[in-house]
Protein backbone atom coordinates (compact mmCIF):
# COMPACT_ATOMS: atom_id res chain seq x y z
CA UNK A 1 0.00 0.00 0.00
CA UNK A 2 2.91 2.34 0.77
CA UNK A 3 4.37 1.61 -2.67
CA UNK A 4 1.06 2.29 -4.43
CA UNK A 5 0.54 5.56 -2.57
CA UNK A 6 4.11 6.68 -3.23
CA UNK A 7 3.90 5.77 -6.93
CA UNK A 8 0.55 7.60 -7.15
CA UNK A 9 2.11 10.69 -5.58
CA UNK A 10 5.20 10.59 -7.82
CA UNK A 11 3.17 10.17 -11.02
CA UNK A 12 0.90 13.03 -9.96
CA UNK A 13 3.81 15.30 -9.00
CA UNK A 14 5.82 15.05 -12.19
CA UNK A 15 3.18 14.76 -14.90
CA UNK A 16 -0.11 16.34 -15.90
CA UNK A 17 -1.62 12.95 -16.37
CA UNK A 18 -4.22 13.39 -13.68
CA UNK A 19 -5.55 16.61 -15.24
CA UNK A 20 -5.77 14.93 -18.65
CA UNK A 21 -8.04 12.27 -17.24
CA UNK A 22 -10.27 14.56 -15.19
CA UNK A 23 -8.69 13.75 -11.84
CA UNK A 24 -7.67 16.14 -9.08
CA UNK A 25 -3.99 17.00 -9.26
CA UNK A 26 -3.70 17.77 -5.56
CA UNK A 27 -2.57 14.43 -4.21
CA UNK A 28 -0.63 15.52 -1.15
CA UNK A 29 -2.89 13.23 0.90
CA UNK A 30 -1.20 10.20 -0.71
CA UNK A 31 2.22 11.38 0.51
CA UNK A 32 0.86 12.03 3.98
CA UNK A 33 -0.84 8.61 4.07
CA UNK A 34 2.34 6.83 2.91
CA UNK A 35 4.39 8.72 5.53
CA UNK A 36 1.92 7.78 8.28
CA UNK A 37 2.02 4.12 7.22
CA UNK A 38 5.84 4.08 7.15
CA UNK A 39 5.99 5.67 10.61
CA UNK A 40 3.41 3.21 11.96
CA UNK A 41 5.21 0.18 10.50
CA UNK A 42 8.55 1.29 11.94
CA UNK A 43 6.82 1.77 15.28
CA UNK A 44 5.31 -1.72 15.15
CA UNK A 45 8.66 -3.32 14.32
CA UNK A 46 10.44 -1.47 17.12
CA UNK A 47 7.75 -2.27 19.64
CA UNK A 48 7.59 -5.91 18.57
CA UNK A 49 11.35 -6.36 18.89
CA UNK A 50 11.17 -5.01 22.45
CA UNK A 51 8.23 -7.11 23.60
CA UNK A 52 9.43 -10.29 21.84
CA UNK A 53 12.07 -10.71 24.50
CA UNK A 54 9.49 -10.62 27.25
CA UNK A 55 7.40 -13.14 25.28
CA UNK A 56 4.15 -11.76 26.67
CA UNK A 57 1.47 -13.03 24.33
CA UNK A 58 -1.05 -10.32 25.37
CA UNK A 59 1.40 -7.56 24.41
CA UNK A 60 2.07 -9.12 21.02
CA UNK A 61 -1.67 -9.48 20.43
CA UNK A 62 -2.23 -5.82 21.36
CA UNK A 63 0.49 -4.82 18.90
CA UNK A 64 -1.19 -6.81 16.12
CA UNK A 65 -4.65 -5.37 16.78
CA UNK A 66 -3.22 -1.86 16.93
CA UNK A 67 -1.62 -2.45 13.52
CA UNK A 68 -4.87 -3.71 12.03
CA UNK A 69 -6.99 -0.82 13.33
CA UNK A 70 -4.39 1.78 12.38
CA UNK A 71 -4.09 0.35 8.85
CA UNK A 72 -7.87 0.36 8.45
CA UNK A 73 -8.06 3.98 9.64
CA UNK A 74 -5.39 5.01 7.12
CA UNK A 75 -7.23 3.09 4.38
CA UNK A 76 -10.44 4.84 5.36
CA UNK A 77 -8.64 8.16 5.07
CA UNK A 78 -7.34 7.24 1.62
CA UNK A 79 -10.85 6.15 0.66
CA UNK A 80 -12.26 9.52 1.79
CA UNK A 81 -9.79 11.36 -0.47
CA UNK A 82 -10.32 9.05 -3.44
CA UNK A 83 -14.09 8.87 -3.02
CA UNK A 84 -16.18 6.75 -0.69
CA UNK A 85 -19.15 6.22 -3.00
CA UNK A 86 -18.11 6.97 -6.56
CA UNK A 87 -15.09 4.61 -6.84
CA UNK A 88 -14.54 0.88 -6.26
CA UNK A 89 -11.72 1.42 -3.76
CA UNK A 90 -14.16 0.42 -1.02
CA UNK A 91 -13.39 -3.17 -2.00
CA UNK A 92 -9.79 -2.71 -0.84
CA UNK A 93 -11.16 -3.51 2.62
CA UNK A 94 -11.69 -7.09 1.38
CA UNK A 95 -7.93 -7.70 1.41
CA UNK A 96 -7.83 -6.94 5.13
CA UNK A 97 -10.90 -9.10 5.79
CA UNK A 98 -9.43 -12.07 3.90
CA UNK A 99 -6.05 -11.70 5.66
CA UNK A 100 -7.85 -11.57 8.99
CA UNK A 101 -9.71 -14.79 8.10
CA UNK A 102 -6.43 -16.51 7.25
CA UNK A 103 -4.54 -15.54 10.38
CA UNK A 104 -7.26 -15.15 13.02
CA UNK A 105 -10.12 -17.17 14.41
CA UNK A 106 -13.68 -16.77 13.09
CA UNK A 107 -14.66 -14.36 15.87
CA UNK A 108 -11.56 -12.22 15.50
CA UNK A 109 -11.92 -11.96 11.73
CA UNK A 110 -15.60 -11.03 12.20
CA UNK A 111 -14.47 -8.30 14.58
CA UNK A 112 -12.19 -6.95 11.84
CA UNK A 113 -15.13 -7.00 9.40
CA UNK A 114 -17.30 -5.12 11.90
CA UNK A 115 -14.53 -2.52 12.36
CA UNK A 116 -14.42 -2.09 8.58
CA UNK A 117 -18.19 -1.57 8.45
CA UNK A 118 -18.07 0.93 11.34
CA UNK A 119 -15.20 2.92 9.79
CA UNK A 120 -16.88 3.02 6.39
CA UNK A 121 -20.26 3.97 7.79
CA UNK A 122 -18.52 6.59 9.94
CA UNK A 123 -16.73 8.29 7.04
CA UNK A 124 -19.76 8.10 4.74
CA UNK A 125 -22.04 9.52 7.43
CA UNK A 126 -19.54 12.25 8.29
CA UNK A 127 -19.47 13.28 4.63
CA UNK A 128 -23.27 13.01 4.31
CA UNK A 129 -23.92 15.21 7.32
CA UNK A 130 -21.10 17.61 6.35
CA UNK A 131 -19.05 16.89 9.47
CA UNK A 132 -16.17 16.59 7.04
CA UNK A 133 -16.30 17.92 3.46
CA UNK A 134 -16.91 15.20 0.86
CA UNK A 135 -13.84 14.59 -1.20
CA UNK A 136 -13.00 12.58 -4.30
CA UNK A 137 -10.45 12.02 -6.98
CA UNK A 138 -12.73 13.20 -9.83
CA UNK A 139 -12.61 16.88 -10.68
CA UNK A 140 -16.15 16.71 -11.92
CA UNK A 141 -18.27 15.87 -8.88
CA UNK A 142 -21.48 15.09 -10.80
CA UNK A 143 -21.45 11.41 -9.99
CA UNK A 144 -21.02 12.09 -6.29
CA UNK A 145 -23.79 14.64 -6.26
CA UNK A 146 -26.12 12.22 -8.03
CA UNK A 147 -25.47 9.55 -5.42
CA UNK A 148 -25.79 11.97 -2.51
CA UNK A 149 -29.04 13.36 -3.83
CA UNK A 150 -30.63 10.00 -4.57
CA UNK A 151 -31.32 8.31 -1.22
CA UNK A 152 -31.99 4.94 -2.82
CA UNK A 153 -28.65 4.90 -4.69
CA UNK A 154 -26.84 6.18 -1.60
CA UNK A 155 -28.34 3.51 0.65
CA UNK A 156 -27.91 0.78 -1.97
CA UNK A 157 -24.21 1.64 -2.45
CA UNK A 158 -23.46 1.69 1.27
CA UNK A 159 -25.30 -1.47 2.20
CA UNK A 160 -24.25 -3.48 -0.83
CA UNK A 161 -20.62 -2.69 0.01
CA UNK A 162 -21.13 -3.89 3.60
CA UNK A 163 -23.02 -6.99 2.41
CA UNK A 164 -20.16 -7.91 0.08
CA UNK A 165 -17.68 -7.57 2.96
CA UNK A 166 -19.79 -9.76 5.19
CA UNK A 167 -20.19 -12.40 2.46
CA UNK A 168 -16.42 -12.26 1.81
CA UNK A 169 -15.84 -12.73 5.53
CA UNK A 170 -18.23 -15.69 5.69
CA UNK A 171 -16.69 -17.48 2.71
CA UNK A 172 -13.07 -16.74 3.61
CA UNK A 173 -13.49 -17.60 7.30
CA UNK A 174 -15.18 -20.91 6.51
CA UNK A 175 -12.55 -21.83 3.97
CA UNK A 176 -9.79 -20.86 6.39
CA UNK A 177 -11.51 -22.84 9.11
CA UNK A 178 -11.57 -25.92 6.89
CA UNK A 179 -7.90 -25.49 5.97
CA UNK A 180 -6.93 -24.94 9.63
CA UNK A 181 -8.85 -28.04 10.69
CA UNK A 182 -7.14 -30.06 7.98
CA UNK A 183 -3.75 -28.72 9.04
CA UNK A 184 -4.49 -29.62 12.63
CA UNK A 185 -5.49 -33.17 11.64
CA UNK A 186 -2.34 -33.52 9.52
CA UNK A 187 -0.16 -32.23 12.35
CA UNK A 188 -1.83 -34.66 14.77
CA UNK A 189 -1.41 -37.55 12.33
CA UNK A 190 2.24 -36.59 11.93
CA UNK A 191 2.75 -36.52 15.71
CA UNK A 192 1.01 -39.89 16.06
CA UNK A 193 3.19 -41.30 13.30
CA UNK A 194 6.35 -40.05 14.97
CA UNK A 195 5.29 -41.51 18.30
CA UNK A 196 4.45 -44.83 16.65
CA UNK A 197 7.78 -44.82 14.82
CA UNK A 198 9.69 -44.15 18.05
CA UNK A 199 7.79 -46.90 19.82
CA UNK A 200 8.49 -49.28 16.95
CA UNK A 201 12.17 -48.37 16.97
CA UNK A 202 12.42 -48.99 20.71
CA UNK A 203 10.57 -52.26 20.31
CA UNK A 204 12.83 -53.38 17.47
CA UNK A 205 15.94 -52.47 19.46
CA UNK A 206 14.68 -54.52 22.36
CA UNK A 207 13.81 -57.50 20.12
CA UNK A 208 17.26 -57.34 18.51
CA UNK A 209 18.89 -57.37 21.89
CA UNK A 210 16.73 -60.17 23.29
CA UNK A 211 17.31 -62.36 20.24
CA UNK A 212 21.03 -61.71 19.81
CA UNK A 213 22.14 -61.70 23.43
CA UNK A 214 21.62 -65.46 23.97
CA UNK A 215 23.72 -66.18 20.89
CA UNK A 216 26.43 -63.95 22.24
CA UNK A 217 26.49 -66.04 25.41
CA UNK A 218 26.52 -69.35 23.46
CA UNK A 219 29.30 -68.06 21.23
CA UNK A 220 31.32 -66.80 24.19
CA UNK A 221 31.21 -70.19 25.92
CA UNK A 222 32.04 -72.17 22.77
CA UNK A 223 35.04 -69.88 22.28
CA UNK A 224 36.16 -70.72 25.84
CA UNK A 225 36.06 -74.42 25.06
CA UNK A 226 37.57 -74.16 21.57
CA UNK A 227 40.44 -71.93 22.72
CA UNK A 228 41.42 -74.22 25.58
CA UNK A 229 40.38 -72.03 28.47
CA UNK A 230 38.71 -75.01 30.12
CA UNK A 231 41.45 -77.54 29.55
CA UNK A 232 42.16 -80.16 26.92
CA UNK A 233 39.28 -81.53 24.83
CA UNK A 234 39.39 -84.47 22.42
CA UNK A 235 39.28 -83.72 18.69
CA UNK A 236 35.77 -85.09 18.24
CA UNK A 237 34.49 -82.79 20.98
CA UNK A 238 36.24 -79.85 19.36
CA UNK A 239 34.60 -80.64 16.00
CA UNK A 240 31.18 -80.69 17.65
CA UNK A 241 31.90 -77.40 19.35
CA UNK A 242 32.96 -75.87 16.05
CA UNK A 243 29.65 -76.91 14.50
CA UNK A 244 27.78 -75.42 17.47
CA UNK A 245 29.75 -72.18 17.17
CA UNK A 246 29.18 -71.98 13.40
CA UNK A 247 25.42 -72.57 13.63
CA UNK A 248 24.94 -70.15 16.50
CA UNK A 249 26.84 -67.44 14.64
CA UNK A 250 24.87 -68.14 11.51
CA UNK A 251 21.58 -67.89 13.38
CA UNK A 252 22.67 -64.70 15.10
CA UNK A 253 23.69 -63.26 11.74
CA UNK A 254 20.39 -64.31 10.18
CA UNK A 255 18.38 -62.67 12.94
CA UNK A 256 20.37 -59.51 12.53
CA UNK A 257 19.78 -59.42 8.78
CA UNK A 258 16.06 -60.17 9.16
CA UNK A 259 15.73 -57.26 11.53
CA UNK A 260 17.76 -55.01 9.24
CA UNK A 261 15.52 -55.92 6.32
CA UNK A 262 12.36 -55.35 8.36
CA UNK A 263 13.66 -51.97 9.42
CA UNK A 264 14.67 -50.97 5.88
CA UNK A 265 11.21 -51.86 4.58
CA UNK A 266 9.37 -49.91 7.22
CA UNK A 267 11.19 -46.61 7.60
CA UNK A 268 10.17 -43.76 5.30
CA UNK A 269 12.80 -42.22 3.09
CA UNK A 270 12.27 -38.72 4.48
CA UNK A 271 12.83 -39.81 8.09
CA UNK A 272 16.32 -41.17 7.33
CA UNK A 273 19.44 -39.25 8.28
CA UNK A 274 20.76 -38.04 4.89
CA UNK A 275 24.24 -36.52 5.01
CA UNK A 276 27.35 -35.83 2.98
CA UNK A 277 29.41 -39.02 2.84
CA UNK A 278 32.81 -39.85 1.40
CA UNK A 279 32.39 -43.20 -0.36
CA UNK A 280 36.09 -43.98 -0.10
CA UNK A 281 35.82 -43.86 3.72
CA UNK A 282 32.88 -46.26 3.67
CA UNK A 283 34.71 -48.68 1.37
CA UNK A 284 37.85 -48.47 3.51
CA UNK A 285 35.82 -49.17 6.64
CA UNK A 286 34.31 -52.28 4.98
CA UNK A 287 37.79 -53.34 3.90
CA UNK A 288 39.00 -53.21 7.51
CA UNK A 289 36.03 -55.28 8.72
CA UNK A 290 36.43 -58.00 6.08
CA UNK A 291 40.25 -58.07 6.01
CA UNK A 292 40.71 -60.68 8.79
CA UNK A 293 38.42 -63.13 6.98
CA UNK A 294 40.16 -62.39 3.66
CA UNK A 295 43.62 -62.88 5.20
CA UNK A 296 42.66 -66.33 6.52
CA UNK A 297 42.14 -67.47 2.92
CA UNK A 298 44.95 -65.43 1.43
CA UNK A 299 42.55 -63.28 -0.58
CA UNK A 300 44.07 -59.98 -1.73
CA UNK A 301 42.46 -56.66 -2.54
CA UNK A 302 43.28 -54.52 -5.58
CA UNK A 303 41.85 -51.05 -5.03
CA UNK A 304 41.58 -47.88 -7.08
CA UNK A 305 39.33 -45.63 -5.01
CA UNK A 306 38.85 -41.90 -5.64
CA UNK A 307 37.53 -39.58 -2.95
CA UNK A 308 33.89 -39.21 -3.84
CA UNK A 309 31.19 -37.39 -1.93
CA UNK A 310 27.53 -38.27 -2.12
CA UNK A 311 24.40 -37.51 -0.13
CA UNK A 312 23.31 -40.77 1.49
CA UNK A 313 22.47 -42.52 4.75
CA UNK A 314 25.76 -43.65 6.25
CA UNK A 315 24.50 -46.83 7.90
CA UNK A 316 22.80 -47.87 4.66
CA UNK A 317 25.98 -47.37 2.67
CA UNK A 318 27.89 -49.49 5.18
CA UNK A 319 25.26 -52.24 4.90
CA UNK A 320 25.30 -52.14 1.11
CA UNK A 321 29.06 -52.21 0.63
CA UNK A 322 29.66 -54.61 3.49
CA UNK A 323 27.31 -57.12 1.86
CA UNK A 324 28.70 -56.75 -1.66
CA UNK A 325 32.38 -56.74 -0.63
CA UNK A 326 32.01 -59.59 1.85
CA UNK A 327 30.20 -61.63 -0.83
CA UNK A 328 33.12 -61.00 -3.18
CA UNK A 329 35.51 -62.33 -0.51
CA UNK A 330 33.32 -65.22 0.64
CA UNK A 331 32.67 -66.51 -2.87
CA UNK A 332 36.26 -66.09 -4.02
CA UNK A 333 38.55 -69.10 -4.22
CA UNK A 334 41.49 -69.21 -1.83
CA UNK A 335 44.30 -66.85 -2.92
CA UNK A 336 41.87 -64.97 -5.12
CA UNK A 337 41.76 -61.24 -5.81
CA UNK A 338 38.91 -58.83 -5.09
CA UNK A 339 39.07 -55.64 -7.17
CA UNK A 340 37.35 -52.49 -5.94
CA UNK A 341 37.19 -49.32 -8.04
CA UNK A 342 35.40 -46.09 -7.22
CA UNK A 343 35.35 -43.39 -9.90
CA UNK A 344 33.84 -39.92 -10.04
CA UNK A 345 32.04 -38.77 -13.19
CA UNK A 346 31.62 -35.05 -13.81
CA UNK A 347 27.98 -34.10 -13.80
CA UNK A 348 26.89 -37.62 -12.86
CA UNK A 349 27.10 -39.74 -9.75
CA UNK A 350 30.11 -41.99 -9.10
CA UNK A 351 30.43 -45.64 -10.11
CA UNK A 352 31.73 -48.35 -7.81
CA UNK A 353 32.78 -51.71 -9.24
CA UNK A 354 33.45 -54.73 -7.04
CA UNK A 355 34.78 -57.75 -8.86
CA UNK A 356 35.98 -61.18 -7.83
CA UNK A 357 37.27 -64.21 -9.69
CA UNK A 358 35.42 -66.75 -7.59
CA UNK A 359 32.65 -69.27 -8.06
CA UNK A 360 30.41 -67.03 -10.18
CA UNK A 361 26.69 -67.36 -10.92
CA UNK A 362 25.04 -68.93 -13.97
CA UNK A 363 22.93 -66.73 -16.23
CA UNK A 364 19.59 -68.39 -15.43
CA UNK A 365 20.11 -67.87 -11.69
CA UNK A 366 21.23 -64.24 -11.87
CA UNK A 367 17.72 -62.70 -11.91
CA UNK A 368 16.89 -64.37 -8.57
CA UNK A 369 19.90 -63.44 -6.49
CA UNK A 370 18.18 -60.42 -4.95
CA UNK A 371 15.23 -62.51 -3.75
CA UNK A 372 15.02 -63.00 0.01
CA UNK A 373 16.51 -66.29 1.22
CA UNK A 374 17.57 -67.29 -2.31
CA UNK A 375 20.98 -68.96 -2.54
CA UNK A 376 22.40 -70.86 -5.47
CA UNK A 377 23.34 -74.46 -4.75
CA UNK A 378 26.96 -73.58 -5.45
CA UNK A 379 26.85 -70.71 -2.93
CA UNK A 380 25.23 -72.88 -0.28
CA UNK A 381 27.94 -75.51 -0.68
CA UNK A 382 30.74 -72.93 -0.75
CA UNK A 383 29.47 -71.00 2.28
CA UNK A 384 27.27 -72.88 4.71
CA UNK A 385 26.67 -69.84 6.90
CA UNK A 386 25.11 -67.69 4.18
CA UNK A 387 21.56 -66.51 5.01
CA UNK A 388 20.32 -65.49 1.56
CA UNK A 389 19.32 -62.04 2.86
CA UNK A 390 22.42 -59.98 2.12
CA UNK A 391 21.53 -59.06 -1.47
CA UNK A 392 17.88 -58.42 -0.52
CA UNK A 393 19.28 -55.79 1.86
CA UNK A 394 21.49 -54.43 -0.95
CA UNK A 395 18.44 -54.16 -3.20
CA UNK A 396 16.45 -52.21 -0.59
CA UNK A 397 19.26 -49.78 0.04
CA UNK A 398 19.83 -49.32 -3.71
CA UNK A 399 16.13 -48.55 -4.23
CA UNK A 400 16.12 -46.02 -1.39
CA UNK A 401 19.19 -44.27 -2.78
CA UNK A 402 18.30 -44.58 -6.46
CA UNK A 403 21.42 -46.62 -7.20
CA UNK A 404 21.48 -48.66 -10.40
CA UNK A 405 23.03 -52.11 -10.04
CA UNK A 406 24.42 -54.07 -12.94
CA UNK A 407 25.78 -57.59 -12.44
CA UNK A 408 27.76 -59.75 -14.77
CA UNK A 409 28.94 -63.21 -13.85
CA UNK A 410 30.25 -66.45 -15.26
CA UNK A 411 30.41 -69.72 -13.35
CA UNK A 412 33.95 -70.37 -12.06
CA UNK A 413 35.15 -67.08 -13.56
CA UNK A 414 33.76 -64.67 -11.03
CA UNK A 415 31.19 -61.92 -10.52
CA UNK A 416 31.24 -58.18 -11.15
CA UNK A 417 28.93 -55.77 -9.32
CA UNK A 418 28.62 -52.32 -10.86
CA UNK A 419 26.89 -49.73 -8.66
CA UNK A 420 25.96 -46.50 -10.41
CA UNK A 421 24.98 -43.60 -8.23
CA UNK A 422 22.74 -41.09 -9.94
CA UNK A 423 23.32 -37.34 -9.95
CA UNK A 424 20.54 -37.01 -7.34
CA UNK A 425 23.02 -38.51 -4.87
CA UNK A 426 25.31 -35.45 -5.24
Amino acid sequence: MISILTAFMLIGSFTNIFNNYGLHSDISWSLISAAILIALNLGYILHLSRIKQSEKYSQILTNIWFQIVADLIVLTGVLHFIGTLETYLTFAYIFHIVLACIFFSGRQSFAVTVIVCILYLGVVSAEKFSIIPASGIYENGILRQLIDNTPFIFTFNVFSAMSIWLIAWYLASHLSGMVREREYELAKANRDLKTAQEAKTKHLLRITHELKAPFAAIDANTQLLLNGHCGFLPDEALKVLERIALRSRKLGHEIQEMLQLANLSSIEKKSLKWQDINLSEIINWCHIQIKPAANKRNIRFAENIEDTHIIAVQDHMKMLFMNVISNAVIYSHDSGVVTITCRRHDGNGPTVIIEDNGIGISAEKLPKIFDEYYRTDEAAVHNKSSTGLGLAIVRHVAQTHNIKIRISSLPQKGTKFELRFTSSNN
Partner: protein
Protein backbone atom coordinates in the same frame (compact mmCIF):
# COMPACT_ATOMS: atom_id res chain seq x y z
CA UNK B 1 48.04 -56.40 37.56
CA UNK B 2 45.37 -54.29 35.80
CA UNK B 3 41.93 -54.46 37.34
CA UNK B 4 38.97 -54.76 34.96
CA UNK B 5 35.32 -54.38 35.92
CA UNK B 6 32.69 -56.02 33.70
CA UNK B 7 29.12 -54.70 34.13
CA UNK B 8 26.73 -56.89 32.15
CA UNK B 9 23.36 -58.45 33.05
CA UNK B 10 24.22 -61.57 31.01
CA UNK B 11 25.93 -63.80 33.57
CA UNK B 12 26.94 -66.43 31.00
CA UNK B 13 28.65 -63.92 28.79
CA UNK B 14 30.36 -61.96 31.56
CA UNK B 15 31.63 -65.17 33.22
CA UNK B 16 33.13 -66.30 29.89
CA UNK B 17 34.69 -62.88 29.22
CA UNK B 18 36.07 -62.76 32.78
CA UNK B 19 37.70 -66.18 32.37
CA UNK B 20 39.38 -65.15 29.11
CA UNK B 21 40.64 -61.85 30.58
CA UNK B 22 41.94 -63.55 33.74
CA UNK B 23 43.85 -66.01 31.57
CA UNK B 24 45.39 -62.95 29.89
CA UNK B 25 46.76 -61.81 33.23
CA UNK B 26 44.15 -59.34 34.46
CA UNK B 27 42.24 -59.11 37.70
CA UNK B 28 38.55 -59.17 36.78
CA UNK B 29 35.36 -58.51 38.73
CA UNK B 30 31.82 -58.77 37.34
CA UNK B 31 28.59 -57.04 38.33
CA UNK B 32 25.15 -57.76 36.90
CA UNK B 33 23.33 -54.53 37.66
CA UNK B 34 24.08 -50.87 37.04
CA UNK B 35 23.58 -50.00 40.71
CA UNK B 36 26.08 -52.62 41.90
CA UNK B 37 28.42 -51.65 39.10
CA UNK B 38 28.38 -48.03 40.24
CA UNK B 39 29.06 -49.02 43.86
CA UNK B 40 31.92 -51.23 42.78
CA UNK B 41 33.47 -48.40 40.75
CA UNK B 42 33.34 -46.09 43.75
CA UNK B 43 34.71 -48.73 46.15
CA UNK B 44 37.59 -49.78 43.96
CA UNK B 45 38.22 -47.70 40.83
CA UNK B 46 39.06 -50.06 37.97
CA UNK B 47 41.68 -49.56 35.26
CA UNK B 48 39.09 -50.34 32.59
CA UNK B 49 35.34 -50.83 32.50
CA UNK B 50 33.59 -53.20 30.10
CA UNK B 51 29.99 -52.02 30.04
CA UNK B 52 26.89 -53.44 28.38
CA UNK B 53 24.37 -51.02 26.85
CA UNK B 54 20.99 -52.54 27.59
CA UNK B 55 19.81 -53.65 30.99
CA UNK B 56 16.43 -55.21 31.88
CA UNK B 57 14.94 -52.12 33.55
CA UNK B 58 16.40 -49.52 31.25
CA UNK B 59 17.40 -49.93 27.63
CA UNK B 60 19.96 -47.13 27.82
CA UNK B 61 21.31 -47.71 31.33
CA UNK B 62 24.80 -48.35 29.98
CA UNK B 63 24.90 -44.93 28.26
CA UNK B 64 23.66 -43.22 31.40
CA UNK B 65 26.31 -44.82 33.59
CA UNK B 66 29.04 -43.97 31.05
CA UNK B 67 27.99 -40.29 31.24
CA UNK B 68 27.69 -40.39 35.01
CA UNK B 69 31.20 -41.77 35.41
CA UNK B 70 32.54 -38.62 33.75
CA UNK B 71 31.22 -36.60 36.71
CA UNK B 72 32.97 -38.70 39.34
CA UNK B 73 36.27 -37.59 40.83
CA UNK B 74 39.53 -37.62 38.94
CA UNK B 75 40.54 -41.15 39.85
CA UNK B 76 37.41 -42.47 38.14
CA UNK B 77 36.31 -40.06 35.44
CA UNK B 78 39.29 -40.87 33.22
CA UNK B 79 38.81 -44.64 33.38
CA UNK B 80 38.41 -45.91 29.82
CA UNK B 81 35.07 -47.53 28.96
CA UNK B 82 34.61 -50.30 26.41
CA UNK B 83 30.95 -50.60 25.50
CA UNK B 84 29.39 -53.88 24.43
CA UNK B 85 26.17 -54.15 22.53
CA UNK B 86 24.07 -56.89 21.01
CA UNK B 87 22.41 -54.24 18.81
CA UNK B 88 24.43 -53.99 15.63
CA UNK B 89 26.32 -50.72 15.76
CA UNK B 90 25.73 -50.29 12.05
CA UNK B 91 22.03 -51.03 12.43
CA UNK B 92 20.21 -47.85 11.50
CA UNK B 93 18.30 -47.83 14.76
CA UNK B 94 20.83 -47.13 17.41
CA UNK B 95 24.22 -45.60 17.26
CA UNK B 96 27.56 -46.00 15.57
CA UNK B 97 31.20 -45.38 16.43
CA UNK B 98 30.67 -41.96 14.81
CA UNK B 99 28.44 -41.10 17.75
CA UNK B 100 31.32 -41.39 20.20
CA UNK B 101 31.89 -37.99 21.70
CA UNK B 102 32.29 -36.78 25.23
CA UNK B 103 28.80 -35.40 25.55
CA UNK B 104 26.59 -37.87 23.75
CA UNK B 105 28.49 -41.09 24.22
CA UNK B 106 31.51 -40.80 26.50
CA UNK B 107 33.10 -44.18 25.74
CA UNK B 108 36.35 -45.08 24.05
CA UNK B 109 35.02 -47.75 21.74
CA UNK B 110 32.24 -50.24 20.98
CA UNK B 111 32.38 -53.94 20.43
CA UNK B 112 29.44 -55.80 19.04
CA UNK B 113 28.22 -59.07 20.51
CA UNK B 114 28.92 -61.86 19.83
CA UNK B 115 32.45 -60.76 20.68
CA UNK B 116 35.51 -62.45 19.31
CA UNK B 117 37.59 -62.95 22.45
CA UNK B 118 40.88 -62.49 20.65
CA UNK B 119 39.58 -59.10 19.50
CA UNK B 120 38.38 -58.30 23.02
CA UNK B 121 41.72 -59.21 24.57
CA UNK B 122 43.63 -57.12 22.03
CA UNK B 123 41.27 -54.17 22.48
CA UNK B 124 41.64 -54.34 26.28
CA UNK B 125 45.43 -54.40 26.01
CA UNK B 126 45.33 -51.45 23.62
CA UNK B 127 43.10 -49.40 25.89
CA UNK B 128 45.14 -50.19 29.01
CA UNK B 129 48.39 -49.23 27.30
CA UNK B 130 46.90 -45.89 26.19
CA UNK B 131 45.77 -45.23 29.75
CA UNK B 132 49.32 -45.77 31.03
Amino acid sequence: MPYILIIDDDEDFSAAAALVLRDSGHEVHTEMTIANGEKSILNKPPDLIILDVMFPENGTAGFELARKIKHFDKSIKDVPVLMLTAVNSSFPLGFSSNDIDDKWLPVETFLEKPVDFDMLTNKVLEMLSIRK
